[in-house]
Structures are given as structure tokens and as C-alpha cells.
């Protein structure tokens, strides 16, 4: 699976479709953390957690659809089936989330005037990884091979992402934002992380089922 993940990463990098979401992410992070006071540590992280959710979904769709269907079929046969390929897509999506989370977690340490304890940095990083993984799972749940046209994928992922925000504390994403916004780190983060992990595994399972239709 490592070789498949490395191949997919190279393909995504050469495709350049990753640039738009990454530039949006960096641009909004810059607006959050480079201009004035972003607020206390965890509240500042809540802002970037709200950002990483849609960006991770966008990047997951880019990763899942980087290869065209014919080339994906070659990769599937070469790797020995859909399972290793879809697992590699999920792994690459999560690795991307971790990279984005590191950036969002470390950037305010330099630019934000508020004090950052080790605990708040760790909580912030975990919050980003959880929100990003939730976003990536939404992207993977509705990308190829589950939905076969990019138009449908974009519409459904956009709708799900937009609907998540008004649902507030009724979603794991909302739990994390609320927890960071109120500066009360608790076991909710762990639950949200477990749900995010289950959603990623579920996206792979659904993809496996859809791929062999």
C-alpha cells in the first residue's frame, strides 16, 4: 500500500489540481493569523478547524479522482484489487490532513501574541486532524467510485459541507468547534476522532462496494 500511496501522491502533485484548495487554505490561514490578534489559543484554532473541514473534503475529491477511470483500473489490477487502492487513497487523504493540520497548528505560534501551552497546541493539532479527517471522509464518501461523475460529486460534497455548519453541535465537527471555542478540552475530542476514523473506514468500505458494481 505504501508504493500505491506514493504513486498516487506523485500523480496528485503532477496534476496540480491540489493547488486551488491549498492556496485557499493558506490564504485564509494568512488572513486569520497574520493580520492582528486571532484571539486566545484554542479559540484561534477553532477558526482554522472550521477552515480545514471543507478544504480536506476538496483535497480528498482531488486525490480520489486524480487518475482517470482507465488508469485507475490498471492501478487496481496491478495492486491486486480495489481494497489496496482505495485504502491508499484514504491514507493519502489523511496524510494531507496531517500536513495541513501541522501548518495550521504551528503558524499561530509564531504570529499570534497569545501564550500557547503544550496542551493547547496538542489539542489544537488533534482538533484539526479530527475536523480534517471528517472533511476527507465526506469527500471520499461521494467521490469516485461511489459517484462516478465529478459534477455530482462536487454538488453533493458541497451540499453536505454547507449543511454541516448550521447543524452546529449536532455533528462531531460541531462538537470540536464548540470545544475549542469554549476552551474546554475534554473527551468529546476523542469521540469525534473515533467517529472520523469510522467514517474514513466506512468511505473505503462503501467505495469497495460501489467499485465492483
Amino acid at each position: 500500500m505504501i508504493a500505491t500511496t506514493r504513486y498516487l501522491a506523485m500523480d496528485v502533485l503532477r496534476g496540480q489540481r491540489f493547488l486551488a484548495p491549498v492556496l485557499v487554505y493558506c490564504g485564509v490561514l494568512g488572513m486569520l493569523f497574520l493580520h492582528g490578534d486571532a484571539g486566545p489559543a484554542l479559540q484561534a484554532y477553532a477558526g482554522s478547524c472550521a477552515l480545514i473541514y471543507p478544504v480536506a473534503a476538496w483535497l480528498a475529491v482531488v486525490i480520489a479522482t486524480s487518475e482517470d477511470p482507465a488508469r485507475r483500473e490498471i492501478t487496481v489490477v496491478t495492486a491486486g484489487g480495489w481494497r489496496p487502492v482505495l485504502s491508499a487513497v484514504a491514507l493519502l487523504s489523511v496524510l494531507t490532513v496531517i500536513a495541513l493540520s501541522l501548518l495550521a497548528t504551528l503558524m499561530p505560534l509564531v504570529t499570534n501574541p497569545h501564550p500557547y501551552s503544550v496542551g493547547s497546541v496538542l489539542a489544537g493539532f488533534a482538533g484539526h486532524v479530527v475536523c480534517g479527517t471528517l472533511g476527507a471522509s465526506v469527500g471520499l464518501l461521494f467521490a469516485r467510485p461511489v459517484l462516478r461523475t465529478i459534477g455530482r460529486t462536487v454538488l453533493v460534497v458541497f451540499a453536505v459541507i454547507v449543511l454541516t455548519y448550521p447543524l452546529g453541535k449536532r455533528t462531531p465537527f460541531g462538537w470540536v468547534l464548540d470545544m475549542l471555542g469554549t476552551e474546554t478540552v475534554n473527551v468529546t475530542l476523542l469521540w469525534s476522532g473515533m467517529i472520523a476514523a469510522v467514517m474514513i473506514v466506512g468511505a473505503v468500505a462503501l467505495g469497495l462496494r460501489a467499485a465492483r458494481r
Partner: protein, 245 residues
């Protein structure tokens, strides 16, 4: 190193339809041993059968038994917009498979290995696609692999496929094989506009399927039995709208 010929994959009464669409394949049983050549017209189900053998898609009914671990696959249309170089692509595919492709020169590849594959000619891109597949040790599944190849490369490919276990769609007749499966001979379709005695029709030899369609029906018949089934349908009082193969 080429693999010995093995009795590898067995398809047992395989049928395939996409969603609620028509059946693309019906009750096909096949044992893949040595070189199996698929022939048939457009839309006869060759590519679908190959995708089932390769494990890309599952049959709607029936089963595939004994698919080996190392399978090589060439799709009907290898994409021309691959952004990485042939060298890089083959390197990655080799790393995924755990075995590198080593037949590109024998296929007469003349392009720039380090240039993006989108810059290669159709024939050279096809050679890259074939080379990555031939690195598989157990089974090759090739969908019209001769498309775009020059004579030298086509001859080399025929040589490379000797003593291999492979299922190849080849309607141009490049490959000699003792096992030729013709999917175009699959069935004759008899459309009936007025129906009578459908149960009797469905019991006749060679009738593969009878499906009611509104006030009419569609009967799928093996070609050898089509004349007799048609005569029987008329005798039973059916009106025939069309007969096509």
C-alpha cells in the same frame, strides 16, 4: 521469466448487467488456460468480460474462481493525458507490483522515456501500457492490445504472449489460439409484438431468455436454434416485430 501455463481462472455461469440495464453477458462459463482469444463485434461484452476476469468489476451472477495474485491488465483505451513520464510510470507500477517491466525495448519503444507520457505517440503510449502489464507473472488480461502498434511491435507482442496465460480481446486476428471465444455469436434477439405461448417458447432448446415488454416480448436465442424458434413462435400465433443478431 514467463509463467508456465496454468489452469487458472474459471468463470462459472457468469452474467453481468449494469444497474437495471440489459444483460451484457449471460451464463458464460469459461476456463482460462493458456492463451484465450476473445472476438466479437462492438458492444458484444468483450471488455466487460475482461474486466470481470481482471477483478475490476464483479459479475452480477455466477462466480469467478481461482483468480491469481499477479495479474496484468491493458484497457481498451490507454489514457493519453498521463502527466508523468513513461520511466516514472513504469517505476511506480513496478514498485506496486513488486516486479519491474523489462520488455519495453523488445516492443520497439522509440520515444523519450523521460518525457511526459502525454507527449508520446499513441503507439508508444500503448507499448508502455503493455509493458507494465507484461510484468505480471500469472495472468494477462489485454483488451485490444494491438491497437496502435506497428507491425514489428505487434509481432513482438505475439512472441511475448507465447507460453503465457492470457485472455486477449483481438478482433483483428493477430493471435493464433486453440481457444477462441466469440461473443458476437452470443444470441439472436427476436422481438415479438403480439405474444402467445411464451412458456412454451422458453422451454425450447437454445432459448436463453424470454422477457415480457409491455404487450410484446423479447426472446434471446442461440444462433443455431434461431430459425426453429422463430418458426415455433409463428406457429404459436406470435407476431414478430424484428429479428437481429
Amino acid at each position: 521469466m514467463a509463467a508456465a501455463i496454468l489452469d487458472l481462472v474459471e468463470l462459472v455461469e457468469v452474467g453481468k448487467r449494469y444497474g437495471r440495464g440489459p444483460w451484457v453477458l449471460r451464463d458464460l462459463s469459461l476456463s482460462v488456460s493458456g492463451l484465450v482469444v476473445l472476438t466479437g463485434g462492438n458492444g458484444s461484452g468483450k471488455s466487460t468480460l475482461l474486466r470481470i476476469v481482471a477483478g475490476i468489476t464483479a459479475p452480477t451472477r455466477g462466480s469467478v474462481v481461482g483468480r491469481p495474485r499477479s495479474v496484468g491488465y491493458v484497457p481498451e483505451r490507454f489514457p493519453s493525458d498521463v502527466r508523468m513520464s513513461a520511466q516514472s510510470y513504469l517505476g511506480h507500477m513496478g514498485a506496486i507490483r513488486g516486479r519491474k517491466a523489462d520488455v519495453l525495448e523488445r516492443l520497439g519503444f522509440r520515444g523519450d522515456l523521460t518525457a511526459p507520457m502525454s507527449a508520446l505517440s499513441k503507439g508508444n503510449a500503448q507499448k508502455v501500457a503493455i509493458a507494465q502489464a507484461l510484468a505480471a507473472t500469472d495472468l494477462l488480461v489485454l483488451d485490444e492490445p494491438f491497437t496502435g502498434l506497428d507491425t514489428t511491435a505487434a509481432t513482438a507482442l505475439v512472441e511475448l504472449l507465447k507460453d503465457r496465460t492470457a485472455v486477449v480481446a483481438d478482433h483483428e486476428g493477430h493471435l493464433p489460439s486453440e481457444q477462441v471465444i466469440s461473443l458476437s455469436d452470443g444470441h439472436v434477439v427476436i422481438e415479438l409484438s403480439r405474444v402467445s405461448g411464451l412458456d412454451e417458447l422458453s422451454e425450447l432448446d437454445g432459448v436463453r431468455d424470454v422477457s415480457e415488454r409491455g404487450i410484446g416480448a423479447r426472446v434471446l436465442v442461440e444462433p443455431a436454434h434461431s430459425d426453429r424458434v422463430l418458426a415455433e413462435a409463428l406457429r404459436l400465433g406470435c407476431s414478430v416485430r424484428s429479428v437481429r443478431s
